[in-house]
Structures are given as structure tokens and as C-alpha cells.
Assembly symmetry: C3
């Protein structure tokens, strides 16, 4: 174990980063060094935990969570990460307080931060709002810290917004690194990020957007597939194109699932709502126009129903590289004949990769803990090194 750790440790030391005291809101605002660092520290943390060593480095402190949408996976990942480092979760339940936009963001951000180390936010329902809200919270904290209201400026972690879902895409990337052996081995691999049919509507865009923007940085050939009319945010598509140019990978968009699957090393079939619909929905939600929302849902489901053949079937999997692409999903998947009549993926395909999707999900707590450590410490690797050196156990033995 010490040897594996030492190897990770040596890699980390080569990477200068700007993560210290910096919020983690979008992967494309981080340098590649930064991203590599987040992966390595996450690996080191997992190694510690798997070997019963304690990564506790806070004696006290709160990790605030603010979930503006339901969550099980990310909620538990954030809680686990905080607990692993010695922080206590304090949930900001907006139904039990009075938070809104405008002036009060500034106030609330400070009121919850007097002794807090991190604020994790999920805000993915309103297009154009989620990420903006996180940045406003950040500015409010800067203001509070500058004016001596806060003894310490808590770091913000994006737990999914309207644009990106960095804790998901980074966990996905770590999964790929482990599955294929290294980041280098990802170069030239084909990823099919494709839309898939679901009997629901209004699923956020942040996962596919996060994937195309991140995987293009690692020299991968990313093919985004969706039916016409299911476009992602143009700004993020542009980011993906630029990333591909810079990394020597490629990025293109097709309107056929089969085309995307052909020769793919990795497939990520997942439903989402067209951004134009999300924009309409955002306006209706803001106006609380329930009638129109019901109408919009009806329309969208009718639209969706034209594309029930966008399903990840065994047949389609035959099109992939050696008929053996890695299937990925952020979970929960809409599995045909299991969670719905007809959905994103056939039961047989999902079952074959079920354990892999669980392992994929299992990296998230460590990715979040790594983001925390890199935000809070200039050289978190030195901390971890000391823990390994001293063999600090997480459970009394």
C-alpha cells in the first residue's frame, strides 16, 4: 500500500495547481493540472480508506449543503466526503428558512458561514440560474471575508447546476482512468455521449454537458448524439469543440445513436430535455404557470415518444468496439421492463454493467473530498503523506 501511495504522491508533486482557495464550479475553468490533481488526491484518499487509515484533518467545522432538487447519491457522497475529513453536515433547508434571490443571497451566504468550511450547492432546475447563484454566493462570501465578517472564506462545491455537474464528470473520468489503466490510455478512445429515450421529461442537461466538456480535454474522440431538437447549450458545445482542438481529440455531433455507438470504446446513453424546452420551463416555473407547465410536459412527452428506439440495446452494443464498449450511467437509469416499460437501456445491457456503474458512482465521495482538500490546503499531499507515515487508523483496532 505504501508503494502505491508513494507512486501517487510522486505524481501529485509534479502538478502545480490553482485549486487552493478556489471554488469548484466548472471543470472548464480549471487547468488540466488542477483536474489531474483532483483525481490523484481522490485516488490517494480511496487508498487510505480501503486500507483503514484515517483522512480526518478537521477537528471541527461545518460542511453546509443546499439541495434545491432531490438527491440521494450526491447527498450521501457529499456527506461521506465531509465526514471522512472530520466535518459535520449542516443542511440548509429552504422550507425551514426564508431564502430567495436578490439582496438576501448576500446575507444568507454570510449567516451560514461563520464557522463553515464548505458550501455544497445543487441548483439545476432553472436554466441560466444555478451556476449564477453559486457565483453570487461566492461573491457574497468574498465580501464577508474581506470585511472581517468571516474568519475564513468557505469554499463552494458545485453539486450540479444548470451548466455542469463537475463532481459527476470527474468521478466518471476517474472511473475511466481506472478502467483503462491511465489518463494517457484514454487518448484516441471514442466516447458516445448519446441521448436516450425516457418516459419522463425535464431531466437536466448538466451531465451530458459535463461529459462533452471534460472528456474532450483528455484527447478523446467525443461523439454527441441526439435527435434533432435535443440540442445542448451552445456555449458548452463550443467549449467542447475548443477542448478537442487543443487536446488533439475530436468532437462532433450526430443525429443517430447507431453512428455514435459504432466503434465506440465507451457509451453513455442518457435522457435529457432540449435546452429550448428547459428555457421555456424555466420561464413558466418562474411565473408559476402550472397550466402551461402541464401543457409543456404533455408536448414534450409526445415529442420524446417519437424516439423510443433511442434505447441502449444488446444489438446496439454489438456496434461498439469489439462489441464490448464500457457502458456508463450517472444513475438511476430508466431500465426497460424494470423501472419503466421502455427506457434508456435494456435490462440485459444494464445488468451486464450494473456493477461497473456502481463502481463509477463510488468515486464521487472521494472526488468531493479531494476538491475539499485541494481548496483548503496548499499541499494536501503532505497531509496524506503524514497520515500514511504515522499509520493513523480510522477505526480503533
Amino acid at each position: 500500500m505504501k508503494k502505491t501511495f508513494q507512486k501517487i504522491f510522486n505524481e501529485i508533486k509534479k502538478l502545480n495547481s490553482k485549486l487552493y482557495k478556489s471554488d469548484f464550479l466548472l471543470t472548464w475553468n480549471k487547468s488540466k493540472n488542477d483536474l489531474d490533481r483532483v483525481l490523484l488526491i481522490a485516488e490517494a484518499l480511496k487508498l487510505l480508506r480501503d486500507n483503514g487509515l484515517s483522512a480526518r484533518c478537521f477537528d471541527s467545522g461545518l460542511a453546509v449543503s443546499l439541495f434545491r432538487d432531490n438527491s440521494t447519491r450526491t447527498r450521501f457522497s457529499y456527506a461521506s466526503a465531509a465526514n471522512l475529513l472530520g466535518l459535520e453536515i449542516q443542511d440548509l433547508d429552504e422550507t425551514k428558512s426564508q431564502i430567495s434571490h436578490g439582496e438576501t443571497i448576500r446575507e444568507t451566504a454570510n449567516m451560514i458561514s461563520f464557522l463553515s468550511e464548505f458550501i455544497g450547492i445543487r441548483d439545476d432546475m432553472y436554466l441560466g440560474e444555478g451556476n449564477k447563484y453559486m457565483r453570487e454566493v461566492g461573491e457574497s462570501l468574498d465580501d464577508g471575508y474581506k470585511n472581517m465578517v468571516l474568519p475564513h472564506r468557505p469554499g463552494i462545491i458545485n453539486l450540479q447546476c444548470d451548466i455542469d455537474h463537475p463532481t459527476q464528470s470527474m468521478a466518471d473520468l476517474l472511473h475511466l482512468k481506472k478502467y483503462f489503466g491511465s489518463l494517457d490510455s484514454l487518448k484516441g478512445k471514442k466516447v458516445a455521449m448519446t441521448w436516450a429515450y425516457s418516459p419522463s421529461y425535464g431531466k437536466p442537461l448538466s451531465v451530458p454537458q459535463g461529459i462533452i466538456a471534460l472528456m474532450t480535454r483528455y484527447g478523446m474522440n467525443v461523439e454527441l448524439a441526439h435527435p434533432e431538437g435535443y440540442e445542448l447549450l451552445p456555449d458548452v458545445v463550443k467549449v467542447a469543440k475548443n477542448n478537442a482542438n487543443e487536446s488533439g481529440g475530436s468532437f462532433n455531433i450526430v443525429n443517430s445513436m447507431d453512428t455514435a455507438f459504432r466503434g465506440a470504446d465507451i457509451v453513455y446513453p442518457k435522457s435529457w430535455a432540449p435546452y429550448a424546452v428547459m428555457q421555456q420551463r424555466t420561464d413558466l416555473l418562474k411565473n408559476n404557470d402550472k397550466q402551461a407547465l402541464v401543457e409543456l410536459e404533455k408536448q414534450c412527452l409526445v415529442q420524446n415518444s417519437q424516439f423510443t428506439d433511442w434505447e441502449c440495446t444488446e444489438e446496439k452494443m454489438q456496434l461498439t468496439k469489439d462489441s464490448n464498449a464500457l457502458y456508463m450511467h450517472c444513475l438511476p437509469a430508466d431500465i426497460s421492463n424494470v423501472s419503466c416499460d421502455k427506457g434508456e437501456v435494456q435490462k440485459e445491457v444494464f445488468e451486464k454493467y450494473r456493477i461497473e456503474t456502481y463502481i463509477q458512482a463510488g468515486y464521487k465521495p472521494y472526488i468531493i473530498a479531494s476538491m475539499m482538500l485541494n481548496n483548503r490546503f496548499k499541499n494536501p499531499e503532505a497531509l496524506l503523506d503524514r497520515i500514511v507515515e504515522n499509520q493513523v487508523k480510522s477505526v480503533m483496532a
Copy 2:
């Protein structure tokens, strides 16, 4: 204190157990050695706490709680137990996530367990479902652990199901052990586990079932009393009979509270719904048939109202051994003229034993903590011994 601890410690050392890495779902699936061990470690933990010593043996880790029914006592007991050992509670709030039966149990069980040590579950509303659900969660965790999804297989603790309420019955047993001086002294004691009138309906069967199945193992003479039509689950009644045969105690069923009280050393008068009604109710709840549920409640309350004389009165207490049986209740009791017009127990009787019922309840946190320790450590007694040796304080002094 060291002497008392040493005595407990010596007793524990004699008991081989199979509790290590084993879920605690039903007392009758545990050997008597196992049960004795849970009691002894609970006593040791209480002794530590009463003497200001720290039983913290986890540096971090989550104790997940999943309450599918309201709870104050058990919720706080579970939270206290987890906290005592150094674990943080993370509640799985199903209204804030999407959990259901079938395929997703397997997934959710793994998603909440990446860094969790225990999962405590209350699921007592649906007959035939609660315990089954816990076993399904357990199988899902086994699957995840076997497939390297989970670095550690969390233990499951039954915080009340449709069949048993082991943290309650074990706390009750510890109360009896302390009250009468030893487990041996319980042999031949008569316990009247009797139905009592309540102006409500639908109370779970798990408490009376837990009591008759557990107390019969300790050579006690258990008399179950209820009006005709208020039968418990036949399977559990059979367990109680067998246990009595094996332990040299006895078990029989009568339809008169007076008969049961006569000569009793211990009385446990408590309301419950007939299992046939619970079965009907389960079906109606599953079909969400509100009309029929209202109708069923009405019927049951009418049926109940025939038995308002099943009340634990001072007069009835005169029938007990030396007119001085120990009154027990899992709380909250329906106290006549206090919490209702007419209920399970007369105010005067309850008031006389009020403090005893509180003391009874006070063992539950230690019972749960003991189940945790015995699940997680092969020799938890060695850990506790070291704490006593080193005099680790729980509060800075």
C-alpha cells in the same frame, strides 16, 4: 468501577458469538450466547458512560438511518448510539430521494454505503414487508461488497419491523436483568404480555411478538393474553412455544387479562391490532384505497371498544405476585385521563412505575451501540478494556 467492569469483562470472555459481521434482524436467529453478549457489552458501555469514559472507536464513518414510520425514542437511541461510538447520523429521507421496491433496493443500498458503517431501518407498517426489505438490503450489500463496490460491508440493525423489534425487546430484557439482579433469577418468573385497550388502531405487532419470542428463551413463564380475534402472527407464536420448550419455561395463550395478571412477576399491557386486520390494512395501503382504510379503522375502533375493560388498573395489579409486579411499557403509553379518556393503563398505576419505564427506555441506546460493536469487532471487549485501562475521558476535564 474497574471492579464492576472486570466482572462484566470476565463474563463476556466466556461467550463465543457469531455476531461479528452479522446483521441483527431477529432475536430468534441469534444464539443465546449472542444475546447474552449484547447485554453484557451494553452494560459495559453504560458503565463507561456513567463514569465519564469515552467509548469512541470510530474516527469517522456514517450511520445511516431509514425511518419509514415516525419515531422519537428509537431515532434518538440510534443517534445516541452512533454518536457514542464516533459515527455521524445520515438520514435517508425517502421524500427527498426516489426509493422503491424491486430493482432499486439493490442500487440504493450500495449508493448510501460507500463510507457507511451501519444502516438502521424501521419498516413496520406493512405486514410481510418490513423484515423482507431489510433482508433484501442485506443481500444487496453482500453483492456490492463481493463485487468490490463497497470497501466494507455495513451492518444492518432492525429498528422495528413487521415481525420483531429487537432493540426494544433486548432493552426490556436488560431492564429485567438489572431489576431482578441477573438473567438466572428470571427463570420461572411469570410475564404477562397482554393486549390492552387503546382508542387508536393499527399499532404494530412487533413489540408483543418480540417479547414472547425473547422472554421464553430465558426460562420465563410467558402468558400471552388478548381478546379473541387479536391474534399475533402464528409463526412467531410457534417460535415462542419452541423457545419455552427448550429453555424449560412455558408459553401459553389466554383470553383474559385477569388470568394473565394472576401471580405475574411482570406485566406488559399494550395495545396492538389483530394480525388479520394488519394484513387487510397492508393490502389497502398498497392499493392506496383510502375509503376502505377509513372504513377499516371505523370497524376496528368499534371492535376495540368492546374491550375497554382490558385496562391495567390498580385492582388488576392486586392480582399480581405480592400485588407488586413490575409494570413495563415501550412508551408512549395510552394513559387513561391523561393522554386519552380511557386507555391501556390507569394514571395511578403508570405514575407508580413511570420512572421504571424511563429507565427501561434508557437501555436502548446502549443495546444499539452494543449491536454495532459486536457487528464490527471480533472482540469489542478488548477495545473497552483498553479504554478503561487508559481512562480515556469523554469530556475534557
Copy 3:
């Protein structure tokens, strides 16, 4: 830092107190020594935290919170205080349990306290009820402790009741001490505690009551201003009068905001409901008379609307001492043209003092932690001294 700490430490040592094992329910039941002590320990705790030292003195233990009204600020303050000292928050959510008045207070108080160190309660909706409830909880805990149900008698902290809001007023006092340099310098300062217009109704009386009862003890000249009909509880007004007499300060009531502002060193403009209305409201809430509640609200808003000129404007601020009084608010304030059309304070005034109100709020976690320490330890200063001596870090470095 050590020098500043030593100065605080020397001051503390002079103050005998009766805070040990004593609930903190009303400031006017505490001696001035007690209050001075709470301030000093709070200052010491803040100093530690600002210098990265750990104030953890509990290895485990629960801090129960019971909020019968919405809260963000106080909820986070209480959670932060508990976490700072090493305790875990366990919220008693009455919607998930069955708590009511009468007999069951006694039971519930014990059931949640087996391993708890503190119970923080907010109960400010019903006049004549909140503080009474807290005292009943206290008596129940005394009873449980006396009867060996509880190994330790948890301390109670009033997080706002119908009469007082001591964690707020003490944080406010600490803000004044810091702002003006010392408690001595507060003597003779004029405080205008004045009603202000708000487009809402039913705001609790506890803040203005807490302020007039506390500031009068420090030799300040407190002027309470409100329109006729907006009286505070007569009993508390009497307390304020007596306090002023004893401290050499003054207390009087006027019906003009301008009069109060004239020459004031400090202004605290805040809306509240007349106590007569609160009394009516309490009765209607108890009877669940929704119709009458709507009617009452309508009446009150009409009544309020006669006093929209009770607004803290730049013009009014010109009337204060050197046109430069310190503006205070417990937050959130109703800011005209920001959170409402017309409210308690002009945007320009609030913005000028915004940071000061945040700093004011920032003392609350330390005040609560100080109340906890003083309740639990005879000489908390000795503990803190040892932490400073040993330079125990709160974050690994």
C-alpha cells in the same frame, strides 16, 4: 494572541458565577457577573477560532435542537456552537414524532436526553407558552436526573421564547462592547429601541423585550419608542425600569421615533406585533380558528399601515448623535425597495451598516458556545487556557 487571551483570562478569573449547571432562559435571572462571564468566554472562543485553535472539549455527545418556528441564523449558530465544542446536532422534528403539552413533556424530555448534553429550544409563537415550556422541560430533566434515569442533566438554552431572546441580546451586547471598546464605555449611551413599520404582522416581542431588559443593566439610557397600541409585555417593561434604576441608567417610553432617535448613540428599529394582538393570536391559534386569524391579520395590517412613517431613513439618522448612531438589527430586516415596497429601514441606511449587522450576527455562535461551556464546566477558562498553552489546532497543518 496569547497576550489578548491572557487579558481576557485575567478578567474572567475575577468573576464568580452561578452559570454552572444552570439553564439560560432569561438574562434578567442572571447576575451581572454571569452575563459578563458569558461575554468574556465568547470572546475567548472567538479568539481561539480566529487563530486556528480547537475548542473541542467533548469527545461525543448530542446537542438537541427543537425549533417550533422557522430559523436560519439561530439554527446555524446553535449548530456551529455545538460543532465547535465537539457535539453533534440532533434535531427533534415534531412532525416526525408526537410531542404535545401536558404529561408527555416530562416523558419526551427524558427520552431525548439519555446521552445529550444540551437542549436548545425556540418556541416564540404563543404568548405565555414558550418560556413556560422551557421551564417544564427543565423540571422534567431535574426529575429524570434525580431518579437516575439520566446520567447527566442536560442544560437548556433559550433560542427565543415569547418573553426573551437571550442569545440575540447577548450577541448584540457583545457587538456593542466591541464597537465602543468596553462595557464601561456603554454607560450613559443612548439606545433607541424603536418599533418600525413592516408590511407583515405577528413578529415576536422577544427581541425588543430582550434589548430593553438587558441594555438597562449596563447603565445605558434606553428609550423605547412605538406607536400607541404597540405595547410590550408589562412585566418586562417593569424589569427594564428596575434595571435602569439599579444600574444608574434610564428607561422611558415615547410614542415618537424622532424623539427616540434624537441624540441616540445606537438605534435598533424593528417591527413587532402589539402584545394584546399576540395574546389574541395565541388564543385563536390554540383554537385553530383560521377565519378569525385571517381577520386579525387584516386588521393588524390596516393598523400597521397608519405608521409607514416609522421607517429608519437617512433623515432620521441625522437626528442621532453626531448624525452617526450605530444602526442595529437582528436580521433579516424589511428593507424598503429591496425586500418590500416600504419597510423598517431605507436601503441607503441599511447598506451603510450592512457589514456591521453581519458582524453583530457573527457573535451569536460564540455566545451560545459560551453558554454551553459555562453550563457544563465550573471553570471553562481553565480548559481554554490549556488549549492556548498546548496550541491545539482545529485544522491539521
